[in-house]
């Protein structure tokens, strides 16, 4: 029962941040700002659901003595969290670079140093 309350709190935080990630897809004006919301909020939200799973499996392992099934679950979920933390921001970085190279420029932007640099380079080549 107490375990359920703590796991529920962690899952609630995760769900709220996932909702923020989805809301940012509709609220922000262009690709790059949307990417901010999508990457940060969904990574953080899924990380919190992973924390809930880790707490659940650890407490079940302590409570059910001599059952290694929950320890295996703990280790595997931990590795899944590490993979998530590495792959998600790297994928977002690749998408941002591809978006900029395919001439999808940031729509409201104060400065765009990268675009200036590419235009300068193209000017020399031409």
């Amino acid at each position: 029962m107490v375990l359920g309350i703590f796991v529920g709190l962690l899952l609630l935080v995760g769900l709220v941040f996932n909702c923020l990630g989805v809301a940012s897809m509709y609220r922000f004006p262009d690709v790059y700002t949307r990417m901010h919301g999508a990457t940060k909020c969904t990574t953080f939200g899924t990380l919190f659901t992973i924390f809930g799973l880790l707490l659940y499996s650890f407490v079940r392992f302590i409570a059910v003595e001599g059952e290694s099934r929950f320890m295996v679950l703990f280790i595997h979920v931990f590795i899944a969290g590490v993979v998530l933390m590495i792959s998600n921001p790297t994928g977002a970085h690749a998408l941002a670079r591809a978006a900029h190279r395919s001439k999808t420029l940031p729509e409201p932007a104060l400065v765009d140093v990268l675009e200036e640099k590419e235009r300068h380079k193209g000017g020399i080549a031409a």
């Binding site: 796991v7 769900l15 979920v77 998530l84 994928g91 670079r97």
Partner: protein, 88 residues
């Protein structure tokens, strides 16, 4: 099933609902990178759902599938990004 497992099942259902909510941006995204960002978000949410369902059904194999899904979705994101740049 105990209380935590019911919670996991409920949160997995709500996350599936979030994926349905993303369909609007997926259909109306003005540019291709917009749709790819939605795809990336959907991949993260799907792997989260897989992790939650593994606790609901008490099967560790689903976590392995989630890890492989994460790795493959990462590779597919990189591939789409390269395709968009004009590399492939």
């Amino acid at each position: 099933m105990n209380m935590s497992q019911y919670l996991f099942a409920g949160v997995a259902f709500l996350m599936a609902f979030l994926i349905v909510m993303l369909a609007g941006r997926l259909l109306s995204g003005p540019t291709t990178p917009d749709r790819l960002v939605v795809l990336d978000t959907i991949n993260t949410l799907v792997s989260g759902i897989m992790l939650l369902l593994s606790a609901v059904y008490d099967s560790v194999v689903m976590v392995d599938i989630a890890i492989v899904y994460m790795a493959l979705s990462f590779v597919s994101t990189l591939y789409f990004a390269r395709h968009l740049e004009g590399g492939m």
